[in-house]
Symmetry: C2
Subunit: 223 residues, 2 copies
């Protein structure tokens, strides 16, 4: 664990509220390791003994429905925590976690962290706020899934990925397209067709995983 890792970890919202001393204590309870592509971190239904922070790479959180079909619930990128909700539940992981590429993770002990929370009210408040935001985000996602068409969801996703100052405006898809499709609740074929149609309208150019936006405003209108 190098100093860049430590900086990243400290900036994550769960630990940002800690005093320097508290943070050092937490560090002593963190273990860092790397998983290879496609390795599984935990299975849906495993006891939630730990929660995690992504240092580099990408973690895919998936849920398997009773029917056997599976749905990508989240793609966790560097600088973000995951599985912390399961910690408060004190139960089991409601999803399984697999890495999409070689991924460095920090693993934190749930019991230890719960103890820490009990002794730090401010931290609690920040957490409450963060979790509200997450709820807000999920509510928005439900919006998207019910009130918007597949094409609108694709455009919304692309615009969301767009970095602020990019000139010309473009994005690089950092995960396979079929993963994006699942996240948007559509089939890979449909995603492919939507992109083809946008390309036909000259609104975007697609070269493999590079997407250039020719008319951001027009796209924004469509979403």
């Amino acid at each position: 664990m190098d100093s860049a890792d430590i900086k990243l970890l400290k900036e994550g919202y769960l630990l940002a509220a800690l005093s320097h001393q508290e943070f050092e204590e937490v560090l002593a309870h963190v273990s860092v390791f790397t998983l290879m592509q496609n390795e599984c971190l935990f299975d849906q239904g495993d006891p939630a003994t730990h929660f995690f922070f992504v240092l580099s790479g990408t973690v895919k959180l998936c849920r398997i429905a009773p029917s056997g079909e599976e749905k990508v619930m989240d793609l966790v990128r560097p600088g973000h925590y995951f599985a912390e909700a399961a910690m408060f539940m004190g139960g089991r992981y409601p999803v399984y976690a697999r890495v999409l590429e070689p991924t460095r993770l920090a693993e934190l002990d749930s019991k230890y962290f719960l103890g820490l929370l009990r002794s730090n009210t401010d931290l609690c408040m920040r957490l409450l706020s963060k979790m509200s935001q997450r709820i807000h985000g999920l509510v928005n996602e439900i919006d998207n899934l019910t009130l918007q068409s597949g094409a609108q969801r694709v455009i919304g996703y692309l615009l969301q990925q767009l970095p602020e100052g990019a000139v010309p405006p473009c994005v690089r898809l950092t995960v396979p397209k079929h993963v994006i499709a699942s996240r948007l609740g559509i089939q890979p074929e449909t995603l492919s067709r939507v992109l083809a149609k946008l390309r036909g309208k000259q609104l975007i150019d697609v070269h493999d995983d590079q997407i250039v936006f020719n008319d951001v405003d027009a796209l924004r209108c469509l979403s």
Copy 2:
């Protein structure tokens, strides 16, 4: 505000962790009032100065999409809080709230309650747990909306409404059908057709808002 109200309020998860004395203090900051059918409690975008608890009746939480379409996000029944997430955000209500029938509400001051939280860690922990559960619930709803058909969602909703020990197994729909349809992300016509089809298969009997289940196991298989 009678003793039944007070009991209900105290059993709600937000206040359950309070000591008797703290609870009495909170009571002094609660105001109770009744809204008539279709009255609006707050609008989407209003500053989130209060959060609420339903003593009797039903509150509909709706979100209006940029396109102008609207979607029922939640139906809050007696014994449940709502708008507490907005309190932690410290911003504005992301939904509007309207009552579906004459409804008694308890209104709590956000600033006061935040102060209380700062002085009570246990309460924080309970809240964190509850909010995790809510997140869990929303994740499940996203499941439903993406990998289940409309018919499956309808069946799932009906089974969820089914009281434990009802013989014969039946439910009464306590809200208008078009509201249920919106909540399930389908059109009223589709809901009507799904129910008609289930009736055709002898799986249920429908008499207005009374629905009798003829074969719960078969339904469970279909969901």
